[in-house]
Symmetry: C2
Subunit: 346 residues, 2 copies
Amino acid sequence: MAARAGVSIATVSFTFSQPHRVKSATATAVLEAAAELGYVPSGNARGLARGRTGAIGIFSFDYMVDGSGDPDPDSVAADAASTSANTFPLYVDEVQYGAETESRRLGYALMLGGARTLPGEHAVTDIVGRVDGLITFSGIVPLEMMRGFAGRLPIVELSGEVRLEGVHTVTVENEAGMRAMTEHLIDQHGAKRICYVGTSTTAEFAARYEGYSGAMRDAGLAPQPPLESRPAREHTTIAAISGQLTLGMPDAFLFASDQEAIVALRLFEQLGVSVPRDVKVASFDGILAGLLVSPTLTTVQQPMHAIGRAAVGVIVDALAGRPDIRHVRLPLALRIRQSCGCGGTD
Amino acid sequence: MAARAGVSIATVSFTFSQPHRVKSATATAVLEAAAELGYVPSGNARGLARGRTGAIGIFSFDYMVDGSGDPDPDSVAADAASTSANTFPLYVDEVQYGAETESRRLGYALMLGGARTLPGEHAVTDIVGRVDGLITFSGIVPLEMMRGFAGRLPIVELSGEVRLEGVHTVTVENEAGMRAMTEHLIDQHGAKRICYVGTSTTAEFAARYEGYSGAMRDAGLAPQPPLESRPAREHTTIAAISGQLTLGMPDAFLFASDQEAIVALRLFEQLGVSVPRDVKVASFDGILAGLLVSPTLTTVQQPMHAIGRAAVGVIVDALAGRPDIRHVRLPLALRIRQSCGCGGTD
DNA sequence: TTCGAAAATCAAAGCGCTTAGATTTTGATT
DNA sequence: AATCAAAATCTAAGCGCTTTGATTTTCGAA
């Protein structure tokens, strides 16, 4: 390449990264030679030499349906199934989308990686070794690894509550959000027996439950213990609800996530239970699929794009030399729609 | 790092990439030291030394609303607007999602880049320099650049028809799809005056128009010249329709893309034109937003995830040494819903 | 024409890894 | 205890760029 243009490799390098240092005639020659040869500077070599890659990594996971493989929404034969709520972007997808937008805006490439199959660990290190900063969802990267990485590059953990030293976080007001929703059910709909369905095994989910139980107590009502259920594990949700139904129908079901609520909606339909007439339903996340189900889902809206954008912002700030660890906490908003009985159409 | 574990750097390297070549006791020591130091092999150095990065790039663009910046769907204050069809994933997003899934499955990291702002070119080379293969949408990378890249790494161009030597392609049956839809309007709904709205400046769009005009001619009807309009440029769509309306209401409007059809639906609502009663509407793409509008959109479904997956597959095959250039062409399916008057609900 | 500072270019030392090929260690066999 | 092949480890030469400091050009001023 350098030879082709009749200059040294240093000059080629300058042409691409510091054009002002090169005579314009030379630059032209270099660029021409590059075009002829299809030459492109190697990002690897550049990254190695500069000590920076110019890329940000985002490590997520597949919140996919029961790990049952892809439902292949594309097979041409597919019909109704292919447009079911399952194929809609979920929480992680939306957050990632926000991160894409922002990193692109700031001139960083985004490198995607995920804990897909078995070698979960392997995959992270793979990403970590290639980027200047890492965004990861809570709970998919083992704590010790995080700790190790934290010293090497800026890391922001999303939607977690575990404060690891040196790790930035971006979270939402889980407790306040769920509290507000619970209050809505109590105040606007006179609900008294509200069943909470969802896990509380992570700090984030625990906070949601706290919001619910706090609101219940404040209203002089008895919070129920959470009915254990997990998003993307339909049978757990179905089991939780079925169990409750044998004990009687509550005024409302409050779900820790939209995904679980949507499963419930489907179950209720099968059982001939009418929502919101027979029981009110509300949940948490604000994924798009919530708009497509019938009734539309009343939910606590997470600012998913903003979360992604904030994460990138934090990384870029850190890269720019701001050394302080940041903990961003974003507010939530209620989306009052049909499933709680408000009849809203958005 | 090597020192810390008391071994040479070669041994460290072997430990990470060819564990079987290292005594297990040694491996343990290395891994321990790595954990202590938070060491992660540098992807850049590795890529440089190996001549492969293990990443696939996807270069897309923002088919965003009028370049008017992000509509910020997340502001907590946002209400109805935030859940409008605009925030739904569009064609490129869905394709990208398919690519993500597949590359993850095959153990490749995906590097995202886009022609966001001005320096369109710069961005591509940036990505090209960092990946083993590139997926790009048609028309955003100048032909000469493509030609140059094609010699250096496998490239697949999506949804284009321009066959560039050495460039793989993944496309769909644009003409057949649009023909089928046109026939549906004619045969099932007795439509005679069908207006085609959309650009035909790219081969892909031109093929769609061909499908329409071919079907019209075959039915003994007169195909209209296309009313020029472009997706994500609302005013062009509105102008196209308004212009037609002054000439009279056709039996049906057939749009080159869902995005344009959705704009039209909104316009018709404002004008008090009832769809499908006063005029039938159908289009092309099958984006999710088409399910959320009222009436739901009858459209030609593109297998977007499959397109993304196929693209990755082609790249990986090429990387595996299969030297032949592949041109994958995927079939389409009609999604007959409400806007054509069929009343389907999917 | 000559001189010197500024501009342009270059040589060479890394950046952190991989991988031949060389060297040392290990361990089963004499 | 001696021998030797196999196993484990190491040395060192890159990989393609950036960047410092040195060298050469350029060009206005003397």
